[in-house]
């Protein structure tokens, strides 16, 4: 186990370097620079002022020097300064990070619980009306555009029923205390998490159903039944445990995207996450923020893959033995 962790951490260094170099090169190739956006917004026409800004943003240096300086600063855990925001990049990202983590982790949890339960139920009632109903719902939530689903939920549950707020992460103003603030957060979280969660739940349900049906037909399951184990024990201890492996793979992939947030859901629900920050940063060629998000995302991918590897080892003793 310790070897897996050590190997993954060593692999992380060239991976992060690769992410920095590749994305830096891609950003340099994009037409229009951060300076173009800033000078256009600020109507800078004086050549001296332009030169001053170029020096201030470090853009007077050759690209290779800029890249080298950036790599050095990343390894000092400094992601640079966002001149557009007037704040260090890490501060800009961490201002949006809690919102993204809360939304993404809740929706993933919701998706995993609902998706796995629906997939198991569907496989146990295969070729019945329940199976058809669950499959229909899964296809519907997978196919429905997220923005449409979000707007529909808002119209029904916020505008007409008034059960949930339309947007934001908390009620502005007042001091509701810890309990009140938690309840308030949950009320704001419900609709965006459901919108995002249902999409992922649909995928989990389909994968889980197929995996359950495949494992149910294997020899060791027949043996377990022949031994006289109860159907519940056969399903939970033998079929479910083995059928979970593809879902864990999916979960790992999804965890890797957690830092990216969801631009669409954030836009519809006014959720202050990283997705919107990323779009703004790309549109304004705010390279320090774009690179900062990429570097942190790479770290999250590495950690998520490590968790998946450890989960595999836990679920399948054969992997642990290797």
């Amino acid at each position: 186990m310790r070897r897996i962790i050590l190997r993954r951490l060593l692999q992380a260094i060239p991976l992060i370097l690769g992410v920095i170099v590749l994305n830096f090169a891609l950003i340099q190739m994009a037409p229009g620079t951060m300076l173009d956006v800033i000078t256009s917004e600020q109507q800078v026409s004086d050549p001296e002022q332009l030169e001053h800004l170029r020096r201030l943003y470090g853009m007077d240096q050759p690209s290779i020097v800029q890249l080298w300086n950036y790599i050095l600063s990343v390894f000092r855990l400094d992601l640079g300064y966002s001149y557009r925001h007037g704040a260090p990049v890490i501060d800009v990202i961490t201002a949006h990070l809690p919102a993204t983590l809360i939304l993404m982790l809740t929706s993933i949890l919701l998706a995993a619980i609902v998706g796995v339960a629906a997939g198991v139920a569907s496989s146990l009632k295969v070729n019945t009306i329940w199976d058809a109903l669950i499959s229909l719902c899964a296809v519907f939530f997978f196919a429905a555009p997220t923005f449409w689903l979000g707007i529909m939920l808002i119209i029904i549950f916020s505008v007409h029923l008034g059960w949930f707020p339309v947007g934001g992460m908390r009620t502005i103003g007042g001091d509701p205390g810890l309990f009140g603030a938690t309840l308030d957060l949950l009320r704001h979280l419900a609709l965006p998490a459901i919108t995002l969660g249902l999409f992922y739940a649909a995928i989990y349900a389909r994968v889980m159903r197929a995996s359950m049906l495949e494992v149910q037909g294997l020899d060791f399951v027949r043996t377990a039944r022949a031994k006289g184990l109860s159907p519940f024990r056969v399903t939970v201890a033998h079929v479910l445990r083995n059928a979970l492996l593809p879902v864990v793979t999916l979960l790992g992939l999804q965890l890797s995207t957690v830092l990216g947030g969801s631009v669409v859901v954030e836009a519809v629900f006014n959720w202050p996450g990283i997705g919107s920050l990323m779009v703004d940063a790309v549109m304004s060629r705010n390279y320090p923020v774009v690179l900062g998000i990429f570097v942190l995302s790479a770290c999250v991918v590495i950690v998520a893959n490590l968790i998946v590897d450890l989960a595999y080892a836990r679920l399948d003793p054969r992997i642990r033995a290797r």
Binding site: A30, P31, G32, T33, D36, V37, T39, S40, E41, Q42, Q43, V44, S45, D46, Q49, L50, L53, L56, Y81, Y83, R84, H85, G86, A87, V92, A95, H96, A99, F147, G150, I151, I154, I155, S158, V159, G162, P165, V166, G167, G168, M169, I172, G173, E266, A267, V268, F269, N270, W271, P272, G273, S276, L277, D280, M283, S284, R285
Partner: protein
């Protein structure tokens, strides 16, 4: 579904005004403002990069900064200037200097007093070098001439409306927070300290900016609101839902989709208004790059204008929420606009004849010539206009290569590389033409790499002379005549012109009052806004 166009909207507004008159209630003065309450508002754009961008930064920081920081004067929708931090601005008889009386007893939000030193610092270190350099090109200095008085000097006569327009646009920042520090990265930009009616309370990035009432505001009785919250929604449909659910009371600068405006108004809870955009009127423009010998020929430019139906652009691209442009100065500019200039009616056959005459006949179906059309990607409508213009030009035998780059690329292509033959873009101009609007067409406006300047390369000594006179002529009647000459020359040569004057809409709950008289609802301090609860 029937669309809610400009005509429907105007009919609705007129009918509402008539009903108010019949009921004997003057529309705006019927009620005494009530104090208290929290207003939650939004706008049709995104969150700002910083709450205050000293050099400008566009509409987003303008919206957030002007609630805290104030100008010297304000302008109303009847083009009257009112005292703000300056109580009086008087020109000398030769218009080479202005005496400015500074309001006494004003304090910054951190408790320090506003002094003459603050104003001198602003003029010397902020207005001239950072935010209003081209407008203050003849500025020579500022000095204290009384206990609460300064005198600003110019090397050339400076028209009163011109200078007062500058004073109504630039904000006054605290010397004690900005002196000797880098303006662009000053921490105060995100925690602004001003003299305005609202104090900054918090900014939750991605969500909202909150302000509280400035209890020590110099204008006693204002502001009427206890709290002001500006919230950000990226999705316009969600803004509509938030209004319907009562979470948003006001949205400025086209906050919701056009189709939703009628539904909100029909609910009886909201009103829609197109007033408040006098000094921020956006227009869609088309300009021709004079560096290309083909479109440099005015006859070709005129032929192209005859091939474009501006009313189609208004009705289809803007769903009627716009007006066909008649000159390079919008009709919303009641001081300087004239429609009495050369017009190019939609006539594709005439366009073809003019292109034949210009030496570009159509032979065996081959294109007359090819052009690179760039539609600036900062407004989604530009891409649609680009598609329409391409279709129209192809109909008259001109091959078109259309690109719709994103915002930074558009800046680079149009203003940096001049890599276009025809460009579809936009401008928002204040009432005063010099220098913002004149910079699009004067020789001195040709500054490579600087956006919203003369990218078309048009250089005409006759027009430059008119603009030079406009900048120093102090007789307002003569200035109006010079503005007419300015528009006449541009309509004749068509280096750039307005295709459509975009109509901006404010949607507000009926409880929200006191914004109807504002010249620029986005950049006003909102001290007069109140809630009729």
């Amino acid at each position: 579904m029937k669309r809610f166009g400009r005509r429907t909207f105007l009919t609705f507004v007129s009918a509402s005004a008539a009903l108010l008159q019949l009921s004997g209630l003057p529309a705006a003065q019927a009620q005494t403002p009530k104090n208290g309450g929290t207003l939650v508002a939004t706008w049709g754009g995104f969150e700002p990069q910083a709450l205050f961008v000293p050099a400008g930064g566009g509409g987003a920081p303008e919206f957030t900064s002007t609630k805290v920081l104030e100008p010297m004067l304000t302008l109303d929708s009847d083009l009257n200037f009112h005292p703000a931090l300056a109580t009086d601005v008087t020109p000398a008889s030769d218009f080479l200097s202005y005496k400015i009386k500074i309001r006494e007893g004003v304090t910054w939000h951190d408790g320090k007093p506003l002094t003459v030193d603050d104003i001198i610092f602003n003029a010397d270190k902020y207005w001239k070098p950072v935010v209003a350099g081209p407008a203050l090109q003849f500025y020579t200095g500022i000095k204290q001439t009384g206990p609460n008085e300064v005198t600003v000097s110019f090397s050339q006569p400076t028209p009163e409306f011109f200078f007062k327009s500058v004073l109504a646009r630039v904000l006054v920042i605290p010397k004690h927070l900005y002196d000797g520090k880098e303006f662009a990265t000053n921490p105060a930009n995100n925690v602004p300290i001003g003299t305005g009616p609202f104090k900054f309370k918090e900014w939750v990035r991605g969500s909202h900016v909150a302000y509280t009432k400035n209890e020590n505001y110099w204008n006693k009785g204002e502001p009427h609101l206890d709290n002001l919250i500006i919230r950000y929604w990226r999705d316009p449909s969600s803004r509509t839902a938030a209004m319907e659910a009562g979470e948003l009371q006001m949205g400025v600068f086209n906050p919701v989709p056009a189709a939703d405006i009628k539904r909100l108004v029909d609910s009886g809870k909201f009103v829609a208004s197109s007033s408040g955009y006098l000094t921020s009127a956006w227009a869609s423009t088309i300009e021709f790059n004079s560096r290309n010998p083909i479109v440099k020929d005015p006859l070709v430019r005129k032929a192209i204008m005859h091939a474009i139906d501006k009313n189609f652009v208004v009705d289809v691209v803007f769903s009627g929420r716009a007006k066909a442009g008649k000159s390079f100065v919008s009709s919303t500019n009641t001081k300087f606009h004239t429609g009495d200039v050369e017009q190019y009616k939609f006539d594709p056959e005439l366009a073809k004849k003019m292109l034949d005459q210009a030496g570009y006949p159509s032979k065996n179906g081959a294109p007359r010539f090819s052009v690179k059309l760039v539609a600036a990607g900062w407004f989604p409508e530009n891409g649609r206009i680009g598609q329409y213009v391409k279709q129209q030009l192809e109909d008259i035998g001109v091959a078109v290569e259309l690109t719709v780059p994103d915002r930074p690329t558009s800046f680079k292509v149009i203003y940096g590389d001049y890599a276009f033959d025809i460009a579809v873009g936009n401008h928002a101009a204040p009432v005063e033409l010099v220098p913002v609007q004149t910079n699009y067409v004067t020789t001195s406006g040709i500054l490579k790499g600087v956006p919203f300047r003369n990218a078309n390369g048009y250089s005409n000594p006759e027009l430059d002379a008119v603009v030079a006179k406009l900048a120093v002529e102090t007789d307002e009647t003569k200035r109006t005549d010079l503005a007419r000459q300015f528009q006449t020359i541009l309509a004749r040569d068509v280096p750039i012109t307005i295709l459509a004057e975009i109509e901006s809409i404010t949607v507000a709950s009926k409880q929200v009052k006191g914004y109807e008289h504002l010249a620029n609802v986005l950049a006003d301090s909102w001290s007069t806004i109140w809630l009729d609860r």
